[in-house]
Amino acid sequence: MKRHLALTLGLLVALSLIVTACGGATASPAPTSPPQVVEVTRIVAGTPETVTLQVTAPPPTEAPMKYAGVTVNVLTFTGPQIAEPLQRHGPEFEALTGAHINVNIVPFSDLYQKALTDFATGTNSYDIIVFDPQWMGDYVSAGYLEDLTDKVKSDKTIEWDDIGPFFRDFSATYEGRVYTIPLDGDFHMIYYRTDLIKEPPKTWDDYVALATQFQGKDLNGDGKADYGSCIAMARSQQSYWFISSVASAFIQSQGTGQGAFFTTDTMQPLVNNDAFGKALDIYKTISTLGPPDQLNLNVGDTRGLFTSGRCALSMDWGDIGPLATDKTTSTVIDKVGAAVLPGSKEVLDRATGKLVPCDEKTCPYAIDGVNHAPFAAFGGWSGAINKASKDEVKAAAFDFLAYVSAPAQSNVDVTIGKTGFNPYRTSQFLNREQWVESGMSAVAASNYLGAIEASLNSPNMVLDLRIPQNQYYQQTVLDTAIAQFLAGELDKAATMKQIEDGWNAKTDELGRDTQLAAYKATLGVTK
């Protein structure tokens, strides 16, 4: 019987071990946060003075700060742009309110799914996501984001009405409600070297001609051959917006409501026609008028090349303007001009799929016979708040975003190239002094801000795609096909067919009517 006893005891011990092991995890104590001692360099708006603060968390007996003990977890991309200002303002905000700001970063291409997976699985490890407002549809329809409509209107710090109407009413808003706080204003523009090029290119043909002229010439006096045009064309980066910037001038001519991605009656992709074909031809030509490894360069690489004087032309968001005035890295200070995206003298006739010359009817918004369609690519980095976070964390999160977005902070941030923040507030356009203080000449500041304003005020501005799963349409289908086209894997016809088929398959999968309704809603057609 000893054996029976031993056997039973053994089984019991094994069983109890399993039970203990399974239940043990819940008993472990939660980690406590260390005492907060921060030393920060704070740039005060308007005056370029540097203040060093040393802040020790107050002992519990003293009157606690508003958000003492609250930790706000922020998710954004690797940066250093975008993450840098958040990391810099975090300790400042902590000194003021006691809330600890913890900035988490992931590669750009992972950002969309990282936040979405976190919310969908109920993990909720992030309270703020600083992301592309274009993706908002997927987040809002699933109910993951906090509705900020009332807060932004009542909050005094944020100065909501100072934010440009486009960023306030389009980028930050979904189905009439506000879900994000804009931290950045985004437009594609072209940059050119004013010491080499007197007049910026008006059409894409002009752009190609200028790029051809300067390709292989020494542009910075170092004896090395430099490049006509530098555009980030690497796959799985932020490159897929650039082809739309070229194509938009050929596709959209009847104003913003016309849309440049799909037809507004049957949701047919506008990618298999002569206009998109022409854009592909131009884009391929430009790809040969740059650095040899242009197909492997991201925006960080091309910005570095441009500000080190190696490129005559570039297409980018607003970042190059302030980066070009950075005395530590730029060799082209006061030699950079910015201009609205080049246009076209021919536009798409949607009935036939052919290009027709610009006239009063076909191009009502043309300037000197050239149809410009500036592309609001991306829409500007914006902060949103996780609906599932605790109320006090949500309050701290909102106050932090309001603090970063407030003119006192953002009007300085937009003049610093490494922040990645570009102007989006009316005060940032009107108050040119801060740009001059940052090192930009008055002429350069006026040229740079003028180019953004021209894009922003264009009645034919192209809105970025903001329909459910637009990330699949653009980052998977469009990005892959364009990369294959540039690499010579696909010819022009096959590229257009592949994008059309890929987009149609996704539209059918998600429901053509639903997608069409979402697309029309973003264009404001139904308003």
Binding site: L7, A14, L116, T117, A142, P291, L295, A487, G488, G502
Partner: protein, 391 residues
């Protein structure tokens, strides 16, 4: 159970004269049965945990590969779509990306395909001639022959001048070219380091270093090295007049760059295991061969190589399984580009997953699992067994 336990077992009781009662007999029988099952009972919790950790995710991911994720009000929903995700890969809109662009092979391609088919037929015939034919063996060999022939058909069609390899063929290239070169280089270095040369200990450590670096670090390193306009080799490229050409924007150049990085990183693994194998081989046969006047080549071919074959075959199997998962190098070096030229199967799954098409991503992952299992099992059963037997 100790020997003493067994000898004192259930039979002798008391003086041994009175017959054991029925109850005690059945109790003893029960105890004996429980005793036999004790091992299983003690192992069961562990086995269940392992099953939960490995089989459960496998089943869940299989289910996920049959669904489509959609975000709806209040969360997400999974819709069962059957084999639609697989159909997309094999015959649908993603089939060119996955399988490649098929085009008529060149005469050389047909020749290679013909040779592969003939070799499979010869192997089958050889098997039937051995006289040890079993049903399982026959079925297995026919499946392998068909699989290998289908693979060869896909490879010669997609690698033809007008074709383009998809992620399956690119991965197979990484695996087979990579492993062959890694093995040969590793063996060469191991043979050198097994000699009693001065400084061999130092070189052993140096040769091992690449394996210690994280693959992402290796990828960044090679990204810099392959940059002809800014990288450390710029003066050399410039002197050769090649500073304005980029070999990583050419599909085959980029694939070669990824393979070089992978070979650089994993040759040390082959090297270290082969050094150990070479150093543990017995000295007597080699000495006897030297006395008999055998050449160095004969010693290597007839004595050393057969002796390290069992180790080599295991080594190759491990690398084979591991190499199929390559993702870091192409992702960081080229982002899978130019186009989709350097995209491996894992990277293919990853790019789909990034936009949260988890069904499509799981389908690619399952296809990869299928291919790895097929090649792994075929290799282990047919080639490795034969190598070990021969050794």
């Amino acid at each position: 159970m100790s020997v003493a336990d067994r000898t004192q077992g259930p039979t002798p009781r008391g003086s041994g004269l009175e017959p054991p009662s029925a109850l005690s007999r059945s109790l003893d029988a029960l105890a004996a049965r429980l005793n036999r099952r004790a091992g299983t009972a003690f192992l069961l919790p562990g086995v269940l945990v392992v099953l939960f950790l490995s089989i459960f995710p496998l089943i869940v991911s299989l289910y996920i590969s049959l669904v489509r994720l959609k975000f709806v009000k209040g969360g997400f929903e999974l819709t069962f779509v059957g084999f639609a995700n697989y159909a997309k890969l094999l015959v649908g809109i993603d089939h060119v990306h996955f399988l490649g662009l098929l085009a008529n092979p060149s005469p050389l391609g047909w020749l290679v395909f013909g040779l592969v088919v003939v070799s499979q037929v010869v192997l089958l015939v050889q098997y039937f001639r051995t006289g040890k034919v079993s049903v399982a063996g026959t079925v297995g060999r026919i499946v392998v022959a068909l699989g290998v022939s289908a693979g060869a058909w896909l490879i010669v069609h997609t690698l033809s001048p007008a074709g383009r390899p998809g992620t399956v063929v690119v991965t197979l290239l990484y695996v087979f070219v990579g492993i062959i070169v890694q093995y040969l280089l590793g063996l060469g270095l191991a043979l050198l380091c097994a000699q009693h040369l001065p400084g061999r200990r130092f070189f052993r450590v140096v040769f091992l270093l690449p394996m210690m670096i994280t693959p992402v670090g290796v990828a960044y390193l090679f990204r810099m090295l392959t940059d002809t306009s800014k990288g450390p080799f710029y003066p050399i490229w410039n002197a050769l007049g090649l500073a304005n050409t980029s070999w990583v924007t050419n599909p085959w150049g980029a694939r070669a760059a990824v393979m070089i990085g992978d070979i650089w990183q994993w040759t040390p693994f082959m090297f270290i295991v082969l050094v150990a194998a070479l150093e543990s081989q017995s000295v007597e046969p080699v000495e006897a061969a030297v006395v008999d006047g055998a050449s160095r080549w004969q010693i290597f071919w007839e004595i050393t190589l057969p002796e390290i074959l069992p180790v080599s075959s295991t080594l190759i199997l491990i690398r084979l399984i591991e190499a199929f998962k390559i993702v870091d190098l192409p992702n960081v070096m080229t982002n899978g580009g130019p186009g989709t030229a350097t995209e491996s199967l894992t990277l293919h799954a990853y790019t789909i997953w990034r936009t949260l098409d988890i069904g499509g991503s799981a389908a690619v992952a399952y296809m990869l699992l299928l291919i790895v299992t097929f090649i792994g099992v075929a290799y282990a059963n047919l080639i490795r067994q034969r190598l070990v037997e021969r050794a």
